[in-house]
């Protein structure tokens, strides 16, 4: 099982509605994925090109985010003046800073080893946790989120543990995330191949292997279509993948279309879900162009 949802809002004046429209989509997929849920949100990057956003998660609930921020700001780097700001919601925080991942991640690992870095990028913010989609949406106030596009997932675990780290979306690199409905039977051999390339894994989850494979191919210069075509040869299993990048949403189903996907498109938005019942509440849905993508047909929408 598992449910996937995606929403891209075409008109900037409607982008404040992103969270409000997306929450019922996520809740609509609760029966397909009752054990965990997550959301990756993409906003227009800040004007300052030096600033990166880090989505941080503290499973212990013990970390005091403002203390972490002050600690970080007081950290002296000979070569870089630290600029940082932070917003938090429950055991989740978004840190804006000019520090690059090779500096920030080891600092966090040393001083705040409980804290996960869920995502890094200029546009992406990521939330994921265990529990019902409704409870998670309330906990992190998803309905208040604004942005150009988002990718969400509700999980019914079939192959690895139920923990926040095993929930989707998965990220790799910067401003890239993937959610998956389906399962892969060769994640360990994929992982062994990728580890030889120096790629580090956070979990034993099958989707993480696909996510890191695709991000690796993109980083090596493939476009998304080429990366997915190579992935289709490597991935043994079935899948509907929904991917988000800083400026696009992409959707593809495996050659046998084992797992569902429905797309509804209007002048205002493109909405994607595993089933229509997650789309039924959207504005002007009765006028939307509704279709199910054919197997291996790659759909890309630009934000």
């Amino acid at each position: 099982m598992c449910g996937i949802v995606g929403l891209l809002i075409k008109k900037p004046e409607l982008q404040p509605h992103l969270g409000e429209w997306l929450v019922p989509m996520l809740e609509g997929m609760a029966e397909r994925g009752p054990d965990s849920a997550g959301l990756a949100l993409f906003r227009k990057p800040s004007a300052n090109g030096q600033i990166k956003k880090y989505s941080l998660f503290d499973p212990t609930g013990q970390v005091r985010w403002q203390e972490l921020l002050e600690h970080l700001k007081n950290r002296q780097y000979a070569e870089t003046a630290v600029s940082a700001s932070l917003t938090s919601q429950a055991n989740h925080a978004i840190l804006h800073t000019n520090l690059e991942p090779p500096i920030l991640k080891p600092w966090l690992a040393e001083h705040y080893p409980a804290v996960y870095v869920l995502s890094v990028g200029r546009a992406i913010e990521l939330y994921k946790d265990v529990g019902s989609p409704r409870a998670i949406a309330q906990k992190y106030q998803f309905h208040k989120l604004a942005g150009s596009h988002a990718v969400g997932h509700t999980r019914m675990a079939t192959e690895s543990a139920v923990t926040p780290a095993h929930a989707h979306p998965f990220t790799a690199g910067e401003d890239f995330c993937l959610v998956h409905n389906g399962s892969l039977s060769n994640p360990h051999s994929l992982r062994r191949k990728l580890e030889k390339q120096g790629i580090h894994f956070d979990t034993d989850n099958d989707t993480e292997a696909a996510c890191r494979f695709l991000e690796w191919r993109l980083r090596e210069g493939d476009d998304l279509a080429t990366a997915l075509a190579k992935g289709a040869k490597e991935f043994d299993g079935f899948y509907t993948f929904l991917m988000g990048t800083g400026d696009q949403l992409a959707l593809v189903r495996d050659a046998f279309a084992c797992k569902p996907a429905v797309v509804a498109e209007t002048e205002d938005y493109v909405a994607i879900a595993s089933e229509f019942r997650s789309l039924a509440h959207l504005p002007h849905i009765n006028d939307a162009h509704i279709f199910e993508p054919a197997p291996e047909e790659l759909h890309i929408w630009k934000a």
């Binding site: 569902p260 019942r277 197997p295």
Partner: protein, 229 residues
Amino acid sequence: MESVTFDLANTTVRQINSFLHDRDKLRHVSLVKILNPNGAHNLACGIDSPIAVEIHGHAGYYVAGMNQQARVTVFGNAGTGTAENMMSGLVHIKGYASGNAGASAHGGTLIIDGSAGLRCGISLKGADIIVGGSVGSFSAFMAQAGRILICGDAGDALGDSLYEAVIYIKGEIKSLGADAQIEPMQESDYQAVAELLSKAGWDHDPQAFKRVASAKQLYHWNANASKEY
């Protein structure tokens, strides 16, 4: 005879289906309308009464599954497993139907005005399926009896491992499945196509259709060609 309307905004699928299974309550009812289906699963499943059901909106999985006698119309699209295991009656989808439409249906008629997804008519056991658009890959896989009429195109592996079911198709076939072959149309085939088209009320020329049926080479084990399997 009266009509009864249910609105899924304020009732449950289980309440509606319980009503549709209650022959005493249905005695004086000729039409049941269901509003705001919003993709709900299992709508109008397991009916065994000669009533009409109208679903106004998009239905979810298994709509009109196991149908007997009823005439179920969906004014919208339908999800996976439309009219699965239908025994008799008529199911009419005004939009498209997702995967496995008419799977294992023993009798009755399934009309899909739009296209059908993958595996349409898989393991068909005697029903008629009439599709206005195209069908996805693996349609009619292991279909044992019944007829499938396709006014559009078919994806890969059409009619793979067919038994006695017959496919009539107007458009292009991306590929035929194992043991499926295009056969010459006989007069009885043109009559069958005309009959199926008239059930749906569509105006296509029966002469434009091809017949796909089983070559029956998989019916018996051929020890001399074991490498073919």
